[in-house]
């Protein structure tokens, strides 16, 4: 099934129903709120709120989740500009330029340019997503279990790029995630595994509890330990940018949208990488490179545009192949699976209404974000001042409610707490968290497709190398692993998570 305007219009007709518009608006608002609040990144925010959407129909829920995601990506710029706290690595250049502008009394226009850049990049990227994703999915409809296994194997090999320089730690993190995903019943034979005689463990460990624990609870623990308080006293009176600002930033927005989107299609190329690339590219193109690091509006626009373009580009491999290219995408993949939807090539065939409604909602969501955020800049700046002693307990409340509402089992919230503590130590000891999330989400699918493939081939593993598509994926996976292992051997340095690895 390729691109067709009929499908897109059908998607708009679903996305424009008042329920979906309402949930998209709620998602944009909550997402921006989550992004604005210091101490909660987009991944943690989505992880906390994901189970709470369980009461909605799947399409409304995913529309809301997607809105939360790009809302959070935008919201992060507020803390970066106003209080010089980049919520995630991708906002570092925003903080560098934005905070300098804020000190010059231009926080309002900086926030407005960030919103406009996010809107431009978001919209251009959704247009590209509309054409790219179904084309890729069309190519992938010939997928059988061996191709799926090879694809997921390649997905797991992403731990190489998600781990930065800490390759061994990344693989350990992945193996621990797989272990958690294997607890319970074997999907093919129903045999009990790794339950150690516990009846409770027979039902398995829910990956939502793992995700919420690793991101939200450990985040609270880190912030409590650092005695984080709100620190902004800044007032923003006017937010209207000048025409000079807009003219100066137009080229930057367009260039960085392209850079961000194209790089965002590559597995492992997270916004944290692309925003720095776009910032650097813009510095070379700028007529005033000397202003960079001293309050360059075009530098700020470039970072925010690439950030949003990369976030949207991540939906292309997610929808077309079911491949999450970043931790936030892994959490969204978990969300899709929670609703019984299997992202991948067949998603466009089996659930066209759903997928086109979500894509259409992204166009609407981008407009909503702009309309919502420009007038509310003053409100967001005030929210930055909420002290952590109030925020922390409320995050725990949301995390507990969210985790419990998936299966209504107290066991799940104990698992959430356990993985919160594990996540805290992983951060302290320099273990990347993303591979564990990816593995816990993919574990069962990986094993099922492997089992089915071996059934087809009468037990021969060569099936993965004799079918062209799976052979290509396996080759790419082994190349990725080989490259990472070679880099490790050459580096002879301690295992340290680098800035380009998310968590």
């Amino acid at each position: 099934m390729g691109f067709s305007f009929d499908y897109l219009f059908q998607g708009f007709s679903i996305a424009l129903t008042w329920q979906n518009l309402f949930w998209a608006a709620v998602g944009c608002f909550i997402g921006t709120l989550v992004g604005v609040l210091p101490g909660i990144g987009p991944v943690s925010g989505i992880a906390i709120l994901l189970p709470l959407t369980a009461v909605l129909p799947p399409t409304s829920a995913i529309i809301m989740m997607a809105s939360i995601y790009y809302g959070a990506m935008y919201g992060g710029s507020t803390t970066a500009i106003v209080v010089n706290i980049p919520g995630e690595a991708s906002s570092v250049p925003t903080a560098i330029e934005g905070y300098e502008l804020a000190k010059q009394g231009r926080a309002g226009p900086a926030l407005a340019i960030a919103a406009i850049a996010s809107f431009v990049a978001g919209t251009l990227s959704v247009i590209a997503l509309t054409f790219f994703a179904p084309t890729l999915a069309q190519f992938a409809v010939v997928f059988g279990p061996p191709e799926y296994f090879a694809l997921m194997f390649m997905g797991l090999s992403l731990v190489i790029s998600l781990s930065g320089r800490a390759l061994l730690k990344g693989i350990i993190s992945m193996a621990l995630g797989l272990t958690a995903g294997l607890i319970g019943q074997d999907p093919l034979t129903g045999a009990e595994r790794l339950t150690f005689g516990s009846v409770t463990l027979t039902v398995g460990v829910d990956f939502i509890a793992i995700i919420v624990g690793l991101f939200a609870i450990s985040e609270v623990m880190i912030n409590v330990e650092q005695r984080l308080t709100s620190i902004s006293k800044m007032e923003v009176k006017s937010w209207m940018p000048t025409w000079t600002d807009i003219k100066q930033c137009t080229g930057a927005m367009l260039r960085s949208s392209t850079v961000g989107f194209l790089l965002g299609l590559l597995p492992g190329c997270a916004p944290s990488v692309t925003s720095f690339v776009a910032y650097d590219v813009e510095k070379r193109f700028s007529k005033h490179p000397e202003l960079f690091s001293h309050g360059a509006m075009d530098g700020l626009a470039a970072t925010e545009a690439s950030n949003n373009a990369t976030s949207t580009a991540g939906f292309v491999p997610l929808f077309s192949f079911g491949l999450p290219t970043a931790p936030s995408m892994a959490v969204l993949l978990g969300g899709l699976m929670m609703y019984g939807l299997q992202p991948g090539p067949m998603l466009f065939v089996t659930n066209p209404d759903f997928v086109w409604a979500v894509i259409a909602s992204m166009y609407i969501g981008n407009v909503m974000l702009l309309v919502l955020n420009l007038p509310l800049i003053g409100l967001w700046v005030r929210i930055v001042r909420i002290p952590f002693y109030i925020l922390g307990p409320l995050i725990v409340f949301c995390a507990l409610v969210g985790t419990y509402s998936v299966r209504f089992q107290t066991f799940d919230i104990w698992i959430m707490l356990l993985f919160g503590v594990i996540g805290y130590f992983m951060r302290k000891l320099g273990f990347p968290i993303a591979p564990m999330v990816l593995a816990s989400v993919l574990a069962q699918m990986l094993e099922t497709s492997l089992g089915q493939s071996l059934l087809i081939s009468w037990g021969s593993p060569w099936i993965f190398f004799t079918r062209p598509i799976s052979a290509v994926f396996m080759a790419l996976a082994f190349l990725s692993i080989g490259r990472g292992v070679w880099a490790q051997i050459k580096a002879k340095a301690p295992e340290v998570v680098t800035d380009d690895a998310e968590y």
Partner: protein
Amino acid sequence: MKTQRVADIVVGCGIALFGILIIYASTLITSGTPHKLPPQTFPMVVGILLLLCGSGLALKSWTIRGVDFAIPWPDGEGVRTLFVVIASIACYIILLNRLGLPIASFLYITFSIWYLKRSKWLLAIVISLITAAISYFLFIRLLALSFPAGPFLE
């Protein structure tokens, strides 16, 4: 475990031991119906991976000397605060089924805000009351989710 190197050696050994435990646990899995991919295969592979990577991490860290980093562990007060935060979440989970979501949330949030900022006890009570009311009216009454309402609100 004050430095990264020592921590990596200790954690690597721990992971290797955990891998051995998983390998042992996978030998206890009963196969049931015959299958091309027996249920013990995957856990066994993961166990071996943990054993190899854990040992590899410990060995690698042991052999690399010179470059090292101090791990930013919390000070005494930080450890105490963390312990109280974890214990209070554990109590929250225990109380959830006994007192219900609204009352357990009220107690947890009141205590947590008070503990993190002693002078703000009145604010703590107001925020907790609002949260408890939201949890009751939104999650239990309006959305009819199966949260325990507690003995007083059933």
